[in-house]
């Protein structure tokens, strides 16, 4: 019994972090180190419990072989209200993400932006274009000739940048350890070379 509760707890954690992608029974079995049979039984119990317990606001839904959390239909009004009155934070986050991607990876297509973010990004792009921070800078080659986006002079002004090169480096590019490794590498190389001559 206790081990079943622990399994339920693990499944809840995993479904929670995996978000809209969900997880299959096979993946859950691998991640929790249990059998698919155990997963099936436990998921069954959990799915019923979530529906029955009135104080729960989420339930488990099976979609195309994956299991994921969704909010209960009864709370749709509260969520609708959240959508209509979004926290400033969440709005900024989406727009800023897209803006960062365009600024650093321009010229870039919508599809490429969505690949990086992992979510649809039509709306933030539209918003940023409406604010004059990004614009169409050309068309991609190949079929479809997708719109390529880039930043505007207005963007530079807004962020007080002299030019696009004045942008600070992206986090992945200044990863501390990598830089240290690189420095060490250079030092070692220099030593080796000094000796060789």
């Amino acid at each position: 019994m206790n081990s079943k509760m622990r399994l339920m707890s693990k499944i809840e954690s995993l479904l929670f972090v995996s978000g809209d992608d969900g997880l299959t029974k096979k993946q859950l079995a691998f991640l929790t180190e249990s059998t698919e049979q155990e997963i099936s039984e436990t998921l069954e119990t959990m799915m019923q419990a979530y529906v029955q317990q009135e104080d729960r606001g989420i339930e488990i839904k099976q979609l195309a072989g994956t299991f994921q959390f969704v909010t209960k239909q009864t709370n749709v009004k509260s969520i609708q209200k959240l959508v209509e009155n979004p926290t400033a934070q969440s709005l900024s986050q989406a727009s800023l993400e897209v803006l960062a991607i365009i600024a650093y990876k321009q010229p870039i297509t919508r599809i490429e932006i969505e690949d990086i973010r992992g979510v649809k990004s039509e709306r933030p792009i539209y918003t940023l274009a409406a604010k004059g921070l990004v614009q169409e800078v050309g068309r991609a080659e190949g079929t479809g000739r997708a719109i390529l986006y880039g930043t505007t002079t207005e963007f530079l002004q807004y962020f007080g940048l002299k030019n696009i090169k004045a942008l600070p480096p992206l986090p992945e590019e200044v990863e501390g350890d990598e830089m240290e490794d690189a420095d060490l590498f250079m030092t070692k190389f220099q030593e080796a070379f000094g000796n060789q001559e």
């Binding site: 972090v17 400033a88 709005l91 986050q93 993400e97 962020f159 590498f185 000094g194």
Partner: protein
């Protein structure tokens, strides 16, 4: 030298001094200047400090230690009266150093507790906000909360990277396209030509991407082996230059590389 010193072990001269004080079990309020100065000097020799970015900081500290040491020797050479005068009129020459060390130590300890918090925070996970675009009936204009700056943008990007950490391994991942050594050799030659046939070694490594650095390095070794380029350094610690051998045409390189 009694034992080996790791280059990366210290965050600067203050860190090194704290390490010595700790190891020699010296009272931080009563530092034995002769002992610590000797030890400090030995360490910076062992660390080949000249090769470090912080060379000047380590050397300035060495000068400071010597200066304090010599000041402390002064009163001994005078009579007892003078020593009394010294005590009354002047502060202990170590005072400034001690208060710097204590100040630094405070933040070094705070950094340790931040590290513990970082580890602890690694034990639980959040999830990104759900994609609620399905709920939208009309297109909505997202406005920024306040005046946002470049750092807000980077913060947002960082948050996204954290979010992307999830889910990754269970899906097929397209690995970064790796540049082959052959391609990189050609690239190096092109770069050298654009640079007039001679360039600083470091200029050939404009990227911080580890993979590219390693590939470029290996391609340079290959080019040296094939005597397509040569490397020049006038003196120890002088800048290293990479030279393209003269008289060869592009097609020759191409042929040689493609062999």
């Amino acid at each position: 030298m009694s034992y080996e010193v790791k280059v990366e072990a210290f965050e600067g001269p203050l860190d090194l001094l704290l390490h010595l004080i700790n190891r020699l079990e010296i009272d931080i309020y009563d530092i034995k200047m002769a002992e610590i100065t000797t030890q400090y000097m030995e360490h910076i020799h062992a660390m080949k400090v000249l090769e470090l970015n912080e060379a000047s900081e380590y050397l300035v500290m060495a000068a400071t230690l010597l200066s304090i040491k010599s000041k402390m020797l002064l009163p001994i050479h005078h009579g007892e009266e003078m020593e009394d005068d010294f005590d009354i009129q002047m502060d202990d020459p170590r005072d400034e150093l001690v208060s710097r060390l204590i100040e630094y130590k405070k933040y070094k300890e705070a950094a340790t507790s931040l590290q513990e918090m970082e580890e602890e925070r690694g034990l639980f996970y959040t999830r990104p906000p759900a994609d609620l675009s399905g709920y939208h009936e009309t297109q909505q204009l997202a406005m920024f909360e306040h005046d946002v700056n470049v750092f807000d943008m980077l913060g947002a990007f960082q948050k996204m990277l954290r979010r992307k950490q999830l889910n990754a391994p269970l899906h097929t991942r397209i690995s970064k396209q790796e540049v082959s050594i052959k391609e990189q050799m050609k690239h190096v030659i092109t770069t050298l030509k654009q640079g007039g046939g001679k360039m600083s070694f470091y200029a050939l490594f404009p990227t911080r991407d580890k993979m590219t650095i390693v590939t470029t390095f290996l391609s340079l070794l290959e080019l040296i082996k094939r005597q397509i380029v040569q490397v020049e350094q006038k003196d120890n610690f002088d800048e290293l230059f990479v030279l393209l051998r003269k008289g060869d045409t592009e097609s020759e390189f191409e042929d040689e590389i493609d062999e």
